[in-house]
Amino acid sequence: MKQAIAKSADIPEGGRIVIDIPGATIGLFRAAGSLYAYENTCPHQGGPVCQGLLIPAVEERLNKDGTAAGFRFDPSDPRVVCPWHGYEFSILTGRHPGNAAIRLRSVPVSEEEGIVYAEL
């Protein structure tokens, strides 16, 4: 069933809101120009994953000879980190970067005339 859940203006680029609707809690994220929605229940132990820290992925750089060249953030890979134990998920795919089988349950969303609708 299609349900209006928020206004588009509530979620600016790089932003996030968490909404209680009857029967579920959903996190809405806008990243790389698109809208993503996930259930606020972590696949690990059920934590409030959508209420965690938003932070880019950390990558470790290597030199051609295999020597380590330090860490840096990768802004093209935005993440949400579950606040219970730190499982980190790509906002763009909903998957854990270390094990793609561990994934958030996504909720189909669309936008029409400034309103966000979820398919519930």
Binding site: Q3, A4, I5, A6, K7, D10, R16, I17, V18, I19, D20, I21, P22, T25, G27, N40, T41, C42, Q45, G46, G47, P48, C50, Q51, G52, L53, L54, I55, V81, P83, W84, H85, G86, E88
Partner: protein, 395 residues
């Protein structure tokens, strides 16, 4: 929007425990936990929040004055004076990704005579459906690495007096196994005699990060005293950042040092025949997880069979003694369910395993972790979540 309500989008150190653990409350209905007796055998409060108060409980007047003077005069020493708070511990929250590990800075309305930590403990218990919680301090668990053994003893005794008076005496749902000043067997005996019958004291603890070998002859009266009183002895693991000299990331330090300290003590305990010498003493291994246990069972059995003459007190295999010991469940390694099932079977989890949350630490486990295990019977779940603890601690 008519049917949607916005929630606090970001959980921080200022969020209320009940909000952080709101999803755990759902498990209570999901698994029907309301009629379970749930005992959490390992959880924590932050003693450094009350450190200036604890310093006033130091017995030695000279050391007490030094501590209070440090707390007053040095910047930041109000929460650290005389302690050996290991600096690497501040890496635990993964760079701010797991806020409740750093602190619970939520608002608590002051209640006259009641410590703020009690309110925080009750909020956590109620959110997770826990009936009773065994509460420990935090950085004090590394006190065995303190450079001055006399200061260590004084701090442990001061904390024990403060905790029994300010926390344990005020809430029957809160229990503790108090730390022993383990570098002095005489002080251990005094501790057991002073606190053994205080309300809420259900056993005693060795903080495992220490060099002391548990087989030393002068510890035997300590074990005997505990055995005679029917009080369990716990070994609570902790991190040792000195392994960081060989390891460059906290994930490595934590993964290893929380286990290796208990591996050493358990090996000494069994090979020296302590289970034969104190057969009624209940021993509990706390916060090393479970995956190390099948390794230790196989490793010790394998070597013992070839070198029996070095462990002549043993009347059976090391693994058989291990099956008679107790273990807390957290942090329950569950990335391979077949291995987890085999581990629980190997340690007789139905009678020997005790649920622990370790709240509010970064790797805590909710009761749903046990309740959701597909291979346990209903009775085994009840035993692990609380009935085993009821028996071990005579609750």
């Amino acid at each position: 929007m008519p049917n949607s309500e916005f929630r606090e989008p970001h959980i921080t150190i200022h969020s209320d425990t009940r909000e952080i653990l709101a999803n755990a409350r759902r498990d209570i209905d999901r698994y029907g936990l309301r009629d379970y007796f749930i005992v959490d055998v390992d959880s924590h409060h932050v003693e450094l929040d009350s450190w200036d108060e604890i310093l006033t409980y130091i017995e030695d007047p000279v050391l007490r004055r030094s501590g209070l003077s440090m707390a007053e005069m040095w910047p930041n020493a109000k929460r650290l004076a005389l302690s050996n708070h290991p600096p690497g511990l501040t890496f635990q929250d993964v760079g701010g990704r797991i806020p409740h590990q750093a602190q619970l800075a939520e608002h608590v309305d002051p209640v006259p005579g009641e410590h703020r930590d009690l309110t925080l403990v009750r909020r956590a218990m109620d959110s997770m459906g826990i009936s009773l919680q065994i509460v420990f301090p935090q950085p004090m668990l590394e006190v065995g690495l303190h450079p001055n053994p006399d200061v260590e003893n004084q701090l442990i005794t001061a904390y024990n007096r403060w905790f029994t008076e300010r926390i344990l005496a005020h809430e029957a749902r809160v229990k503790s196994m108090l730390a022993l000043p383990f570098n002095s067997p005489e002080a251990c005996l005094r501790t057991i005699r002073e606190f053994g019958e205080k309300p809420g004291v259900v056993g005693f603890l060795v903080t495992s990060q220490r060099q002391a070998p548990v087989f030393r002859n002068d510890y035997m009266p300590v074990y005997r005293e505990l055995e005679e009183r029917g009080l369990p002895l716990g070994f609570h693991a902790g991190p040792d950042y000195s392994v960081g000299k060989q390891m460059n990331r906290f994930v490595s330090v934590h993964a290893m040092s929380f286990v290796t300290c208990n591996m050493v003590h358990l090996t000494n305990w069994i090979i020296n025949g302590l289970p034969e010498r104190f057969p009624r003493l209940k021993v509990i291994w706390i916060e090393s997880g479970l995956a190390w246990l099948p390794f230790m069972m196989q490793r010790l059995d394998h070597e013992y069979l070839m070198r029996q003459s070095e462990a002549p007190l043993l009347k059976k295999l090391p693994s058989e003694y291990m099956r008679e010991m107790y273990y807390t469940s957290q942090p329950m390694e569950a990335s391979n369910m077949k291995l987890l099932e085999a581990t629980l079977e190997a340690i007789n989890a139905g009678t020997q395993l005790l649920y622990a949350s370790d709240w509010p630490h970064w790797d805590f486990d909710v009761p749903g972790r046990i309740a959701g295990l597909p291979f346990l019977s209903e009775q085994e779940k009840r035993n692990i979540l609380g009935e085993n603890a009821r028996r071990v601690f005579r609750l």
